[in-house]
């Protein structure tokens, strides 16, 4: 019983601590997104911009790094990852479905990990 109370308290504390961290209006977030070409760049950035709260988006063709500034009050990095995967590009955290990958233009069919 004591144990349960302790766990409850700890988890409650942890939760409140998280609630207290202020959501960042200008969160700089960088993640790896798989892709090949100029056309991929346009698709990835377009998908990033479709996520509410994304203010800037830039995908670098050679390093595969997607850098965004996003407003955490409107969406989370997870929302961004899902939106990128939805248009067929694997991110470090979320993989695209096979169907979405198959929809990509031939030049964009990157090698999946």
């Amino acid at each position: 019983m004591k144990k349960i109370v302790l766990i409850a308290i700890i988890s409650f504390l942890g939760f409140s601590a998280q609630a207290q961290t202020k959501k960042n209006k200008n969160l700089k977030y960088t993640t790896e997104v798989n892709g090949n070409c100029e056309q991929c760049k346009k698709r990835i950035e377009k998908a990033a911009f479709s996520v509410p709260g994304v203010k800037t988006a830039n995908w670098d063709i050679s390093s595969h790094q997607l850098s965004v500034i996003l407003n955490e009050e409107k969406s989370s990095p997870a929302d961004l990852n899902n939106a990128i995967a939805k248009v067929g590009h694997d991110t470090k955290d979320v993989k695209a479905t096979q169907a979405d990958y198959d929809n990509l233009h031939t030049c964009c069919k990157y090698v999946r990990e």
Binding site: N26, K28, K42, E45, K46, F49, V54, K55, T56, A57, I69
Partner: protein, 669 residues
């Protein structure tokens, strides 16, 4: 014998070994192009890089457009020696000319301002055709030219340029640069030029180009702190320019104000102070605020024979700009406020035209970019000016990439300005023409403000011919004047009339361009231009005088691949053909003092060779007007300069003839 064969064999072997070594190292270098055209910018803007500027070694901003198809460089008249520029067929008063986005050539400096920026100071020039951005003001009608000077934080410690030419012109440019700390740097630019000898190649008793002396000093400071996002520039500048022209026998100490000999002096002194401060918000790279302030004092004292012309302009300019986004960087905006104050003291003979102009305005510009193939800039501003009144200036630019390597652009906009009729037309003082202003109800010398709409469309496409890069494009622009301060030279050779436009006035311009890399390192650039510029004058509708209907430009550049030690040759050749031009009306003069209705067509060729010995040292030699074409009759009534038919203002072709020059550049990096 055996020894010889062995030696030969060894030599061959070593050569083979050598060439194999060469093969191992493959350098892929992207060459900097002289003129850069963007396929993603919304406006029709080309950038002249410092590389292109070196093609015409001489001398100042006015002369740096010789190889550029967007801008026509007219021939310097015998009087001022200054080359006037035109864009879309309209002279520089219809352009907004800025230096680092602060209006620089305006008002009193309109006639010679471009010659007050030495070429070696320039980092790059951006040329926008058609309606400009609202951020820099309401005055631009046919285009915008912005000059970026060398930046102290990225400049080299020392630069020296020495130049001399067969028309007795000498130039000296020295640049010093010092990094004061990791955030502060300063540059000191000192320019001097002089023309020491009198030239009269056409034996009409008049100098072909003015004697001159100019000293021009710029000291600038740059601050940049990437941690805090703070950027700043502070500039101090002093310029003193003296010109003397007229009859060869004219002695300014004896003959000034007399009819012994005709002569002219134009002396200009100028001070500039400008500051810029910018801040990029922390964690928000898309949001920034900037504040620019500029003060300058421009003082020209001049006489042209018995005509006196003095103009002094003190002006203050202030601009506050805020940049940010709406939701994301696909939707950006720029907004801000301008303030302009101009105090003129202007005297034409005994008439006093002194006045104070001021204006305050607010602007907002929205940019949409779908990050793919379409972008749009929609801008507007409202201004309140003590002479122009309260008015709105809308501008629109659009860009669309219909397919790969193709770009289609459209622009439209309105411009409004007060014409400084004397400052802008001061070459006419070098004639016996009487100046008459036929209207008196307006607020600017009795005239109304000039208002024009400009519309333009352009397309360009990159492609390959035989695996080599090629580019073709065309553009068409139309400027429609609702009102214009008409300068009428079609009425009488003894008069120049100024009046408000009655009827129509327009300028159509069409340009077709083709460039091609013929073989590796050999580039060709060609352009054909057609202008139809008509104005309703009192006597009827005529093409604008001194404007060719057809022009052709060809530029050929070749450079050898730079060796490891930096040794390199560069060759450049420019061919300029100018069709016939309407000349001012002179048919009522006696036959010997008449111009034909149209000038003949002619071609002018320039060439230059540069030898780069190392990254530190290079020399160049070149020739202008190698074909030695000269205007047959440069001055009407040259034998009676105080008589009724004298006119030295009509320059439709080179007057001096061929000219050769040489110079050197020395750098410490």
């Amino acid at each position: 014998m055996q020894k010889n064969i062995m030696l030969l064999g060894m030599l061959l072997l070593s050569a083979v070994a050598f060439s194999q070594e060469d093969l191992q190292e493959v350098k892929v270098t992207k060459k900097q192009k002289g003129i850069k055209k963007s396929y993603t910018l919304t406006s029709n803007t080309s950038v002249i890089t410092s590389k292109e500027l070196l093609k015409a070694a001489c001398c100042n901003l006015a002369e740096s457009f010789e190889t550029n198809p967007s801008i026509d460089v007219n021939f310097s008249d015998a009087l001022t020696g200054t080359k006037q520029i035109k864009m879309l067929g309209l002279t520089s008063p219809y352009l907004t000319i800025t230096e680092e986005n602060i209006p620089s050539v305006r008002g009193a400096s309109q006639a010679y301002g471009l010659s007050f920026t030495p070429g070696t100071w320039i980092e790059s020039v951006q040329i926008t055709k058609g309606a400009g951005s609202v951020i820099n003001g309401y005055e631009s009608i046919s285009g915008q030219i912005n000059t970026e000077l060398l930046k102290p934080l990225s400049d080299i410690p020392f630069f020296l340029n020495v130049y001399g030419s067969t028309d007795a012109r000498f130039e000296l440019n020295t640049h010093f640069n010092k990094k004061l700390s990791d955030k502060w740097a300063t540059s000191l630019f000192v320019h001097g030029n002089t023309r020491v000898a009198k030239n009269d190649m056409n034996n009409d008793g008049f100098l072909d180009n003015p004697l001159g002396k100019q000293i021009n000093i710029l000291n600038r400071y740059q601050y940049y702190d990437p941690e805090s996002g703070l950027v700043s520039f502070i500039n101090f500048r002093y310029m003193n320019d003296k010109k003397q022209t007229g009859e060869v026998d004219f002695d300014k100490d004896v003959d000034r104000g007399t009819t012994n000999h005709w002569g002219s002096e134009i002396n200009t002194e100028r001070f500039d102070v400008s500051t810029k401060i910018g801040y990029v918000f922390k964690d928000m790279p898309y949001q920034s605020i900037g504040f620019q302030n500029a003060f300058n004092s421009h003082n020209q004292n001049s006489y042209f024979g018995l005509n006196l012309y003095d103009i002094k302009q003190n002006s203050f300019y202030s601009n506050l700009i805020f940049n940010s986004i709406i939701n994301n960087t696909m939707h950006k905006f720029t907004t801000g406020l301008n303030f302009t104050y101009d105090q003129y003291q202007e005297f034409v003979n005994v008439n006093d035209y002194s006045r104070i102009d001021n204006s305050v305005g607010a602007f907002f510009e929205y940019t949409y970019d779908n990050t793919d193939n379409f972008s749009l800039i929609l801008g507007g501003r409202v201004d309140n000016h003590n002479r122009l009144g309260f008015f709105v200036t809308p501008r629109l630019h659009m860009r669309y990439n219909p397919w790969k390597n193709g770009v289609l652009r459209f622009s439209a906009g309105r411009g409004k300005r007060s014409a400084n009729i004397f400052a802008e037309n001061q070459q006419l003082f070098a004639s016996s023409r009487t100046f008459s202003i036929l209207d008196n109800s307006g607020k600017i010398y009795g005239l109304n403000p000039e208002i024009a709409w400009n519309y333009g469309i352009s397309f360009s496409q990159k492609f390959k011919i035989f695996k080599k890069n090629a580019e073709a494009g065309f553009d068409f622009y139309r400027t429609d004047f609702q009102n214009q301060a008409v300068v009428d030279l079609m009425q009488s050779p003894q008069e120049v009339l100024f009046y408000n436009l009655k009827g129509s006035s327009f300028a159509n311009s069409f340009q077709a361009e083709f460039s091609y890399e013929i073989i590796h390192n050999l580039n060709l650039r060609t352009a054909y231009k057609y202008y139809d510029i008509q104005t309703d004058y009192l006597r009827g509708t005529f093409q604008r005088p001194l404007q060719a209907k057809h022009r052709f430009l060809g530029n050929l550049e070749y450079e050898t691949t730079a060796s490891d030690s930096g040794k390199q040759w560069k060759f450049d050749y420019t061919f300029n053909w100018t069709g016939k031009q309407r000349l001012p009306y002179t048919a009522s003069n006696p036959p010997e003092d008449q111009f034909p209705d149209f000038s003949p067509s002619f071609a002018v060729m320039n060439a230059q060779v540069t030898r780069i010995f190392s990254p530190v040292f290079e020399v160049y030699v070149g020739g202008e007007n190698i074909g030695n074409y000269k205007q047959q009759k440069a001055i009407l009534g040259a034998n009676d300069p105080f008589g009724p038919n004298f006119d030295a203002s009509v320059a439709y072709a080179p007057i001096f003839g061929q000219m050769y020059y040489a110079g050197l550049r020395f750098k410490i990096k």
